[in-house]
Amino acid sequence: ADPTAYFDAVIAADGKIEPRDEMPEAYRKGLIRQIAQHAHSEIIGMQPEGNWISRAPSLKRKAILLAKVQDEAGHGLYLYAAAETLGIDRAELYRLLLAGKQKYSSIFNYPTLTWADVGAVGWLVDGAAIVNQVPLCRCSYGPYARAMIRICKEESFHQRQGYEILYTLATGTPEQKAMAQDAVDRWWYPSLAMFGPPDTDSTHSAQSMAWKIKRFSNDDLRQKFVDMTVQQAGVLGLVLPDPGLSWNEERGHWDYTQPDYDELFTVIKGDGPCNRERMAHRQAAWDDGAWVREAAMAYAEKKKVTT
């Protein structure tokens, strides 16, 4: 039998590929790359928000933020587990991350400068992530699709929390409202850039579409995010920093100014404001923990021997 016949049939029938199924090597490799990048993004993404846990302005907000960052670690775990079903282990993925051989989402290379950034990250960054990720809940690789279902549920919870932070600020004191507007001013374009380069410049996309990993083009997803966000910004009473925003009756969508893709590539290549610090932080945590991981292994080894 043709070894790819089953795979092709499942994909054609919109079914799920499972770990034990045969699959094209490029499908497997592409998925590992994508899931790993997604997992790394959750882990590195803990840093910009973690930056405000110690300073959260109320105990309730502190608890919510701490729980959120914890959820991100949890998402990292599911995703590394999903990647492991493709025959690679977490330690190796970590190594590739720290060696700069695998990427994470560039959005986390921007600094969180004020408390309002925690709100803006929740509202805009998680919002953009959800738009990107919801289609992945139907992606053709079973373990990834199932991980995404759980993650998307939590992400939309996080997005609501971010929105709520901004709403409280936007309806608070003049200083709080200014803080909220400032955060939106800084996070808007980087959030738009999260959908990747315009379709005309995008690599990987066509094959991913065919394999039903990706289901919508970058530009379609970006438009969806813009349409959704413009409406919410109105409710918040905050201004999106794009003078070109206008409703296009004909298209039935909002026209908007594209983000600066040169900046995006600069960040992707490692030269964003925080790339070096994010990686150095992760590396330091990893190095500092080496003796602990060794102790845990040595102890487990002893217990195996003596019991």
Partner: protein, 235 residues
């Protein structure tokens, strides 16, 4: 009747312990531990909120949990010094958690059957959480103490460094015997040596009266900065 300061002491212990533990977020030796430490910090933060709210009610001046957490200076905090010591290494964190969780177990066990119904209720909820903190810190004390020579050395140093600060936990009504027996059992299995009471004349104290180490005011400066910068704002 329960005094405001007694409840503040319990609430401040939990709050400051949570604040220190939360510093581990993104710094833990493995992802599972990032999650576990955040979990425990969340439990402690939850206890702190219930206790500070209750302390505010007892006080009767309308102060909320946030007023008490964010608008007192270090001389008004009532926590023991053990929980305010700097983050230290992973052995510090887990040995400190062992000492503190075992203390909280004794504490909450007593409150559950005590006269104050409100405290009994808080304690009943917290006791379940603390049981997990005890398990988690016990497991790690064993792993570190009986792991590698380096982890043993670090764990022993943590025990020696933190031990003097445990005496302050027992200046109130919580009996030390049960705690000591539980600690001894874990340390013995972890091949760690517990400093003898005779050898330890260094017994720092003062936290319950607002006399802290030099570390607490730095912790509070960071914790309170944003809240204090916007007097009267809602968040």
């Amino acid at each position: 009747m329960t005094g405001v300061d007694d409840v503040l002491a319990l609430g401040d212990d939990a709050l400051i312990a949570a604040q220190r533990l939360a510093e581990w977020t993104t710094n833990a030796p493995e992802l599972e531990e990032d999650i576990a430490l955040a979990n425990i910090a969340l439990d402690l933060l939850g206890q702190a909120r219930l206790l500070l709210t209750y302390a505010g009610e007892l006080e009767g001046e309308g102060r909320t949990e946030d007023d008490l957490a964010y608008l007192r200076g270090d001389r008004e905090f009532r926590n023991v010094q053990l929980v305010e010591l700097p983050r230290g290494d992973f052995a510090d964190a887990l040995v400190r958690m062992l000492f503190f969780a075992l203390y909280q177990r004794e504490l909450y066990d007593g409150l559950v059957i005590g006269d104050d119904a409100r405290l009994a209720e808080i304690a009943a909820k917290a006791a379940k959480e603390v049981a997990y903190h005890v398990d988690h810190s016990t497991l790690w004390t064993l792993r570190l103490g009986d792991g590698t020579p380096e982890s043993h050395r670090r764990a022993q140093e943590a025990v020696d460094r933190l031990w003097p600060y445990t005496h302050e936990l027992f200046e109130g009504d919580v009996p030390r015997e049960g705690w000591l027996a539980a600690v001894d059992a874990v340390l013995a299995e972890a091949t760690l040596t517990r400093p003898s009471d005779e050898d330890s004349r260094f017994r720092p104290t003062g936290g319950r009266k607002g006399v802290h180490t030099e570390h607490l005011s730095y912790l509070l400066a960071e914790m309170q900065v944003l809240h204090r910068a916007h007097p009267g704002a809602s968040w």
